[in-house]
């Protein structure tokens, strides 16, 4: 009797110990977020003590190591937006067409073969895409576009568009497949063709999920680092012209991190100030995407 009591007590003890460990593991993800916010805020505090927020947001020069330093983050944002915009311009039509094909046209066997292949595309390290963009894709584009600089925003943007394609296509396809088949059948009963069913029934019904896919894809393009650091150049340049090279936020962080910056210099702190801008942009996209995705899951 006593033996089994002590067994039960020991078991309960182990059980709550294990539960506690698991809770700590789950909480660790929250600490990561807190850590990120803490680091970004504290390390850039010194920066914002010296540079007025208004100058930071409106100046159009970014020259952190010059004698007369300017910190207009819009210089970096312009390049970031341009590259991400090109990526989306490639990824939205291509991703939508691919998702419609996979969810409405392809047979199951085709889908099961295609999706793993697309996943391989996602598995290529981004530094490899950077090499490819700089030394293969850009020279290729230059034969069609004579004025294209060696470092430019067009090439990285286009490669990135294909790079995020597996992600945008598979998230939008999930959303389309979540549309109940009853809706499709109602469309067919009205004499709709597959194309009509896709465009008038499935896409509108899955709209929030599809939007989420592209917003999350946008967030990835904004945060992508190695492709732009290698192939878009590291020269801060307030420009929306895709044939020019310009440093994005991420490329600037890489460039500064490679030189050994003194811990309390303004240039070091400017890396974290740029980091905050990047974090806020991607966080906004991610949260919008999260709630849109959750909505399409709830509706059906």
């Amino acid at each position: 009797m006593r033996a089994s009591e002590s067994f039960l007590r020991r078991r309960a003890l182990w059980g709550s110990f294990a539960g506690g460990c698991l809770l700590i593991a789950a909480a660790s993800s929250v600490f990561v977020t807190l850590g990120i916010v803490y680091v970004l805020v504290t390390e850039s505090m010194g920066f914002f003590a010296q540079i007025a927020l208004l100058d930071f947001l409106t100046d159009t020069q970014w020259t952190p190591v010059f004698e007369n330093a300017h910190f207009g983050v819009m210089t970096l944002v312009s390049a970031t937006v341009t590259v991400a915009g090109i990526a989306l311009a490639v990824s939205i039509p291509a991703g939508l067409a691919l998702a419609i094909y996979l969810s409405e046209y392809a047979r199951r066997e085709v889908r099961e073969t295609v999706k793993p292949c697309l996943e391989l595309l996602e598995g290529v390290p981004t530094v490899v895409y950077g090499y490819f963009t700089l030394l293969f894709f850009t020279p290729l584009l230059q034969t069609f576009i004579p004025g294209l600089e060696g470092f430019n925003m067009l090439g990285p943007g286009m490669v990135m568009g294909i790079m995020i394609l597996p992600y945008t296509a598979s998230v939008s396809e999930d959303a389309m497949r979540a549309v109940p088949s009853g809706l499709r059948e109602a469309g067919y009963a009205l004499g709709y063709s597959r194309f009509r069913v896709a465009m008038r029934v499935v896409v509108p019904a899955a709209f929030s999920g599809i939007t989420a896919a592209f917003i999350l894809g946008m967030s990835r393009a904004v945060g992508e680092t190695m492709v732009v650091a290698i192939a878009a150049g590291q020269n801060p340049n307030f420009s929306f012209n895709p044939t020019e090279g310009a440093a994005t936020i991420t490329a600037y962080i890489v460039q500064m991190a490679m030189g050994d910056l003194p811990h309390d210099s303004i240039a070091y702190q400017s890396v974290f100030a740029a980091g905050i801008v990047l974090f806020v942009i991607t966080l906004t996209f991610n949260l919008i995407g999260f709630f849109l995705r959750r909505r399409f899951k709830e509706v059906y």
Partner: protein
């Protein structure tokens, strides 16, 4: 509008409508397939470009055994691939217990309340945080805050945090796929919650968790951005101390505090140099890096589809 079309349709133009529909369907399928072909040929172009570009170095055994050098023809990747393996050991050692633990908690233990909701939103947001931001976390907190230095430990830790969401999400999916009956049978036999999870749920979800872990580690191997910010050196002409030694206690942990370089950083360094000779080295390093990540992804994909077939 469609109804009007239909009611006025006489037989010949009805077949016309059907034919037109067939044509648009064909065109749509064609567009979908061509997008697929473009994407796949990009992948093929990347692979071929790297292999062709790096071939002279790839066939030279010295390339795998030499340290980096100022002379492109003597430079090799030994410190990079050793560094990658050691960093991955740290990453796996941290990310797997934390990620699987968090996944189990959220799926089996967590009550449906705002705290759980908050953790879930947080995990999904972390998955979308750009990897370079993790690099800033490592720079500001691990290096300047905790004083861990520019070491293998710091790199392994930051990459572990980076892939944590991947492992959490795939653990949850694997666990969610385990039928409730299994748990109820375990409870029926008198098992408590932890015994059920440890003895029945986790073993049943093992392969799904393994798949997610491999995908996560494959991602970590290819990541350069979060490690660049902590100042991974690119000119490392020595190897970290060996983790295994011939005298007791046979293992030592000095390697954790060693400076290091890893494959993607080495490749980035070579690609950013102006001399074309170094680009050959970059391509060769890229081939090896791709072999590593594609092999891991391939195993994971195969495992997943193999499993799915088994369950069916």
């Amino acid at each position: 509008m469609v109804n009007a079309e239909m009611s006025q349709a006489t037989l010949p133009n009805l077949t016309g409508i059907v034919d037109a529909n067939r044509r648009t369907d064909l065109v749509m399928a064609g567009i979908g397939i061509s997008v697929l072909i473009v994407a796949m040929s990009l992948l093929a172009a990347v692979v071929i470009d790297l292999i062709v570009g790096g071939w002279p170095r790839l066939i030279n055994p010295d390339f795998y055994l030499n340290f980096p050098s100022r002379h492109p023809l003597q430079a090799g990747i030994v410190s990079a691939w050793v560094g990658t393996i050691l960093v991955m050991l740290v990453t796996a050692g941290i990310a797997i217990p934390l990620g699987v633990g968090a996944g189990v908690y959220l799926e089996e233990y967590a009550a449906r309340n705002w705290i759980t909701d908050f953790i879930e939103i947080n995990v999904s947001n972390l998955a979308g945080v750009p990897s370079i931001i993790y690099g800033l976390l490592a720079l500001g907190l691990f290096i300047h805050g905790f004083g861990l230095g520019e070491t293998i430990l710091t790199a392994g830790l930051v990459l572990a945090l980076l892939i944590l969401p991947v492992i959490i999400v795939s653990t949850r999916e694997a666990i969610r796929g385990i039928p409730l009956d299994l748990r109820e049978a375990a409870y029926g036999l008198g098992a408590d919650k932890w015994q059920t999870v440890r003895l029945y749920v986790l073993p049943a979800a093992r392969s799904g968790i393994l798949t997610g872990t491999i995908v996560g580690l494959a991602r970590a191997i290819g990541e350069a951005a979060p490690v660049i910010t902590i100042g991974a050196l690119t000119f490392i002409a020595f190897l970290p101390p060996s983790p295994i030694q011939s005298s007791p206690p046979f293992i030592n942990f000095e390697w954790l505090e060693s400076p290091f370089t890893i494959m993607p950083i080495q490749m980035f360094n070579w690609v950013s140099r102006p001399q074309a000779e170094f680009h050959i080295n970059a391509a060769a390093a890229g081939v090896i890096l791709m072999l590593m990540t594609l092999a891991m992804n391939g195993i994971a994909i195969w495992l997943r589809y193999h499993l799915r077939r088994q369950i069916r």
